[in-house]
Amino acid sequence: MSTAIRIKDLAFAYGERNVLGGVSLAIEKGEMIGILGPNGSGKTTLLKILSAVLRCAGLVELNGKDLRSYGRRELSRLFAVVPQESQINFPFTLAEIVLMGRASHHSPLGLEGPRDLEAARRSLEATETSLLADRYLHELSGGEKQRVMIARALAQEAEILLLDEPAAFLDLKHQVRAFELMRRLNRERGLTIVAALHDLNLAALFFPRLAMLSGGKVYRDGPAREVLSEENILEVYGVEVRVEMDASRERPQVFLRT
């Protein structure tokens, strides 16, 4: 398996505030990795750096080449990003928004072609939003909006999917569906998936590898049962918990102590 993303000594500060310092991580093609950490630990920042929205100090390589050497259009064919929230002030329909994911696949001077429409249609089906296609974004609930964002990312047909807390606004059923979708995409299409997650249990159930951020560095990196220990969680999240293996004896689940 080749290295899709290699991060070495990445550092980033918002003005005076150091968010990340000395982060090193290697992600293989076709891996599914969850990024954990409390608020402010730099999860979102890391994803923004990976998608070239922010510039950092240190080395980030994509498929062996420095990230900075890629053009944006090229990058958008490699990365698809599902943001945490989006503010859209203009009346676009869902179909239009999902189709915007196809921007880097056709000429900027032209309209979308049949391939683009097909990709959009399939993404809407995969996220169960087909029926909402001609509705306007502001008519939807938070959860439906998020599924549309996922659909748009899928329509991009990129190799790597970056998700920033994709389940944040979803109800239980759709949370599970979203993660099952990600797992299916990972297995069937070999998509590399990097997701920032706040729900430790869902992370443990769906993501074979977890990286926990703390103090601007990668505190722990490995399979869920190693990373999600009571000591680690106390250290990083400052909460006392109880960790037990699930019925299959393979994946840890976290229980709060009250």
Partner: protein
């Protein structure tokens, strides 16, 4: 899935283009004075009142109205996307303020200066619009510098700089108005309120070339403009070089607005209203919204100018008053009927 396709593009733009041609013809034939078209055509090259009214007094200004209406509407669309603000309009950038100030200074200090074009062969133009355009350029550079951070023109900074700049300029203009000869002050006020009055085909051709080229360039940016309304980061992640796009769009629209205001004063409301009206009718996809707004803006302003000539004949109303007075209620009506569905009202 109801999305933009070639058929819709052709249909919508085709209808609007046809309406535009009809408007040019209609507005040339309509006015406070009755004109005999056949006599005018017969006497194209001899001194005849009909021919002169139609081809020297009316047609140039109708054509100017089409260019300026279209240009203002297109800039309005683009600025609303760039600033991600539905209330954005051409006045907001500060360019129109600079152009107004330049024009005012020209009218005060050298209203009668003329500049020969092509060594006098193509006639002469007044120095006033040139001064106005210089003012526009200067203010564009200033607002740009104030809003540029790390190579990016953040909408927040652009909006603020533009608004503050405009307020400052407005105060300056009021000050100038108060210290000049009272008689001059009245003339300045008329100029500021905007007028499409022109007989110079040279001017009209120049503005047309300018506006059409500018519009075509902006139209080519239709897709990136769609993407940038999703947010700057999202646009970047979808492949748009947002920094470059913002800078280029800002400069292109500023130049267009500067040229338009220099020639005809500040004609407001078109740049704010037409984009919204067309968005309610054809959708938000800029690849269609831009040409549709351009054509609709031209139609709207040429009829507004016709009304301006007719309503209080023989006097001519400032066209900016007509656009607001008639455009406003129409827009409210449209908003009430369509907007509830489309704008989360």
């Amino acid at each position: 899935m109801n999305v933009l396709d070639r058929r819709k593009m052709i249909r919508v733009n085709g209808i609007l283009f046809l309406l535009l041609i009809l408007s040019v013809i209609g507005c040339s034939l309509v006015g406070p004075v009755a004109v005999n078209l056949w006599r005018a055509l017969e006497n194209l090259f001899s001194p005849d009142a009909n021919a002169e009214i139609l081809f020297r007094a009316r047609l140039p200004r109708v054509l100017l109205g089409v260019a300026i209406g279209g240009g203002m509407a297109a800039c309005g669309v683009v600025l609303q996307a760039l600033l991600r603000n539905p209330l954005a309009c051409p006045q907001m950038l500060g360019v129109s303020g600079g152009a107004s100030l330049g024009g005012i200074l020209g009218l005060i200090f050298f209203p009668n200066w003329l500049l020969p074009v092509a060594g006098g062969l193509l006639g002469e133009i007044s120095w006033v619009p040139l001064a106005a355009f210089l003012g526009a350029l200067l203010s564009m550079v200033l607002v740009y510098r104030f809003s540029l951070f790390h190579g990016r023109l953040h909408p927040y900074h652009l909006l603020l700089s533009g608004v503050i700049f405009n307020s400052f300029i407005a105060a300056l203009i009021m000050f100038l108005n108060s210290i000049v000869d009272f008689y001059q002050a009245q003339g300045l006020l008329f100029w500021l309120m905007g007028s499409l009055s022109t007989r110079a085909y040279l001017t009209v051709a120049f503005i047309w070339a300018y506006v059409v080229l500018g519009f075509l360039w902006l139209w080519a940016k239709g897709l990136p403009l769609n993407l940038i309304t999703l947010g700057e980061e999202t646009a970047m992640q979808l492949g748009v070089e947002t920094g470059a796009l913002q800078r280029q769009v800002f400069v292109a629209s500023s130049l267009m607005i500067g040229a338009m205001v220099s020639i005809s004063g500040m004609i407001g409301f078109v740049g704010l209203m037409i984009p919204h009206v067309m968005r309610l009718i054809v959708g938000s996809d800029h690849r269609l919204l831009l040409p549709a707004s351009f054509l609709a803006g031209g139609i709207f302003l040429s009829w507004a100018d016709t009304l301006a000539r007719v309503l209080l004949a023989p006097a001519e109303l400032p066209v900016g008053i007509v656009t607001a007075f008639f455009g406003g209620p129409f827009f409210l009506l449209l908003l009430y009927r369509e907007g509830r569905k489309k704008l989360a009202l």
